[in-house]
Subunit: 545 residues, 2 copies
């Protein structure tokens, strides 16, 4: 398959190499590149709709069979223009059109066209913000952007920001490569603050978890988090050496929010034990599966009472702060000792950008590292207190976008998402084939197909029968979601929602994430129509499902 | 400063927001964008030389004063075209021209112009390879590219790669966001393999370090690594809960390479203790400061004898495998249980891309996580066994570049770097004002300015005098490097080289990294001329230095 492309006239030699380093091989190549780059840069959404995800269904097996060659050609295989053409004609049609307003199952959505321009500029400058030497003004800009977002969250005084915005002694936060590493960074800091150096003990970072627990006379350290939290929290527990079993799910109420009274009781019990250190309590602002927001203010009260680190995972929900109408939903976020926010989610930035913020400008000192050739103490080098090493200048993208759209522009997108999700919920309630499972507190909702006949049967069924019926409903929803996805026109995702902290399989639900500003009720009704159609076809089919 | 730009006529409303999401506000904006994007995409290196890092010296203080405003405007501050113009005219001139062939102090260098095209395409597609649902063919392609590079390293059989390239049960490696997270991933796997589940112990990942050491009757776990290793190794020790003090520097020889006999003795001693678990031994292929390569084959022998995990940090040196002339220098890399290679270093990709590979296709099972809404067991979702969550499709960039340049194209760049560094070394030897410190095993070398008069004095000085003289030489080198950097025409970096594992301050050296294919001996002689000139001026000045 690949072989046919091998051009015998393409030879890697020093001269042609130097040429291709700086410009296209020939005018034909240049023309091809111009054509595509113009489409991408100035007609992005038309381009995506025309070129991406348009291939007829191909089975995964058939697709993987096309990508099995593992030998790299010693000589150039293709001219640049052919490589780009192959991407547009061969790869793009089999990618996923995450930008389609009919694809409402992802947290990856359409991005404004100018984001591609900004990303290209960042790539062209190719600065490495790990150190001032390879970034200069971009390091300075990053500190400014961090302060701007910190101010959005914490709303401290002008003098506070004036003091810290460019201070080399303090750190308001850090860009990361995503929510996972942002959460990991926050919990890394929390671990190091709990098990910090004293007397002759040099701290957990230097001496490790076992020595640290010994020094503090503890059996273990734990993190308390909602069972609806992102799986990166458990992963962080595993990575940090506290053990993912010690990321303890706390009780949630019927709305899947942390039950604060039970949280408090749990903390009291753990403290009574005397041998368990509580590293952090995590509240969620926009849970991945349901979009719900934990009662942040109340959790903050509990954490304050007990002197615990309060981490807010607002990877998804963070930008709701920019909405004049709905910012109140995040009340209490400003009391988080650390806050995660993703850039590539509701800041509409391209992959991959996360951020983590700390209320205390000295908190990140707990994870400072130095290396001679990288950075010297007291330098402005941003690599001293970050998980990641080399990093691109993503702050330039966020800063530019904030200038282009203003907080109000972002706020309007948030409003659109939340209000369209509310409309979607009403549309679901109005159809008898559907059942709402979790209402959209933000712009995420879950629902399921529940034929009225089966619903009735469930109501009057014995526990054993009920389980069987629920299982049938689960299978139905799985089938509908799969068929809709495979048809390729629209997409909602699918997950399982458990009640409480129970470790059961849970109910299969369809999950919609309304973040694309082009998604409206007409489109969403089409999505539901298609689901109804598929479901009815399945229900009428003589085959069991 | 920022205020003057606020355009009162820019208002965030839903209509204008939807418009700016998909295209420039007006024709004038479009024109501006086209002008700049054309320069960036088709005249990258001219553009960089003309626009980047061209501002006269500005003190860091003066620069930071320009970036202190921390309030985000509610309404759009600027039109898109103005934002882009500001970046080109205001930010770029104060960034660092990492692409200049005179800037030979970074590991961040010029990238081929087409990398910017590829990055723009990746941003436009905005796939998230954490899961098949948001990436489809890009997940499949990533597995193929991982297999291609795995094959470069490990050279297993055709049937091995046929079996694993698209297998959903096995994993040959992972893209990461850089060498730091690649090293962290490798050591995370090594930790979990050492302290794996048995009987009723569920493994370190689940139960944490303290329980794990108890279960294995150990006092601590350690990593043995060259003291010339990257600081991310220590950081990994800290993050993983083993403690960075337990990343133990092993002895090196006079050439800064791991002393294998002493390594072996160290391991024997540690094992005799009986209470210390050795998690991994780390060999470096291209040390950050000196470019040296540890005796990988011999270290592999030792690790094999003792049954230890051997990690090779080839973040820098990895692509030397592509050189027909110098691949031999990495002999033994194929015996690494895990190998780190950076994409944004000698694969000439834009920030940020790292990779980690594992010899055993089942090794990464040790770090597998599952989440209902993300991935189901046995799926092809790439997010199951990675440190990072969301990730962009960087494999598309590497794959394309390999097709455009071939392994031989990359090999020629490697050859150029190494041979130019050798030429640079000869030029340094030929000048009496300079002293070579570490010869270029690959394309990195360190040297220093050592005036012949002072050199003679050092030879005949008492220990106390000697120290004072060495300190003077250090100060001279610091001054020269700083003045050259501030003059802005060329750049070498500066670090300190210690002898052995001693925790002394070490000798100040100038460090050159020759990776830009445009850097040649004429340029390097100019760099040395400039250093001589600055040094002589300092030496002749009546002021002490």
């Amino acid at each position: 398959m690949e072989k046919q492309y091998i051009k015998k006239d393409l030879v890697a030699d020093w001269e042609s190499l130097q040429r291709i380093f700086i410009r296209p091989e020939d005018d034909a190549s240049r023309e091809t590149l111009i054509k595509y780059m113009e489409q991408i840069l100035f007609g992005l959404h038309d381009f995506l709709n025309k070129n991406v995800g348009v291939t007829e269904a191909i089975s995964l097996k058939a697709l993987t069979d096309l990508y099995k060659e593992t030998v790299i050609s010693p000589h150039p295989e293709k001219k640049l223009a052919d490589v780009i053409s192959d991407i547009i004609q061969g790869i793009a049609p089999r990618a996923v059109n995450v930008a389609s307003p009919y694809f409402v199952g992802h947290m990856t959505a359409a991005i404004p066209f100018f984001m591609v321009h900004l990303k290209a500029i960042v790539a062209a400058l190719n600065q490495n913000v790990i150190k001032l030497e390879t970034s200069k003004v971009l390091s300075v800009l990053e500190k400014q952007v961090l302060a701007k977002i910190h101010r959005l969250i914490y709303k401290n005084s002008e003098i506070f920001y004036h003091t810290h915005v460019q201070s080399t002694d303090t750190t308001l936060g850090s860009f990361t490569t995503g929510g996972t590493t942002a959460n990991l960074t926050a919990l890394w800091v929390a671990r190091n603050l709990l098990l910090k150096p004293f007397d002759r003990f040099q701290g957990v970072e230097a001496q490790g978890m076992a020595e640290a627990l010994k020094a503090y006379s503890l059996d273990k350290a734990v993190i308390l988090a909602s069972p609806r939290g992102h799986f990166s929290l458990k992963k962080a527990g595993g990575i940090l050496g506290i053990g993912h079993k010690n990321v303890i799910p706390v009780d949630v109420d019927a709305h899947h929010r942390v039950d604060v009274l039970k949280l408090n009781r749990r903390i009291v019990d753990l403290k009574k034990n005397g041998k368990i250190g509580i590293m952090a309590v995590v509240g969620i602002a926009g849970a991945t599966e349901t979009g719900i927001v934990d009662p942040l203010d109340a959790i903050a009260d509990v954490c304050e009472d007990h002197g615990l680190h309060f981490h807010v995972d607002a990877a998804w929900g963070g930008p709701v702060m920019l909405s004049e109408r709905y910012a109140f939903k995040l009340k209490g976020i400003e009391r988080g000792d650390s806050v995660t926010i993703d850039g590539h989610k509701q800041f509409f930035m391209p992959m991959t950008c996360g951020m983590v913020y700390f209320r205390d400008p000295l908190a990140m000192d707990a994870i400072a590292y130095h290396a001679n050739y990288v950075n010297r103490e007291g330098s402005v080098d941003l690599g001293i207190k970050t998980l990641e090493g080399s990093r691109e200048a993503n702050s330039l993208i966020l800063d530019s976008s904030l200038k282009i759209m203003g907080t109000r522009g972002y706020g309007l997108m948030v409003d659109h998402g939340i209000e369209t999700a509310q409309g979607f919920s009403r549309a679901i309630h109005a159809r008898e084939l559907f059942e709402m499972v979790t209402e959209p507190e933000l712009n995420i909702l879950t629902y399921r197909i529940l034929p009225p006949k089966i619903k009735e049967q469930i109501l009057s069924a014995s526990p054993g029968e009920k389980e069987k019926l629920e299982d049938r409903v689960n299978q139905l929803n799985i089938k509908v979601q799969r068929e809709q996805r495979e048809a390729g026109k629209s997409f909602v995702s699918r997950t399982r929602i458990r009640q409480g902290t129970k470790d059961t399989e849970g109910q299969v639900v369809l999950r919609a994430v309304i973040m694309n500003p082009m998604t409206d009720m007409d489109i969403l009704n089409e999505v539901l129509d298609e689901q109804e159609e598929i479901a009815k076809k399945i229900l009428q089919s003589p085959e069991p499902f």
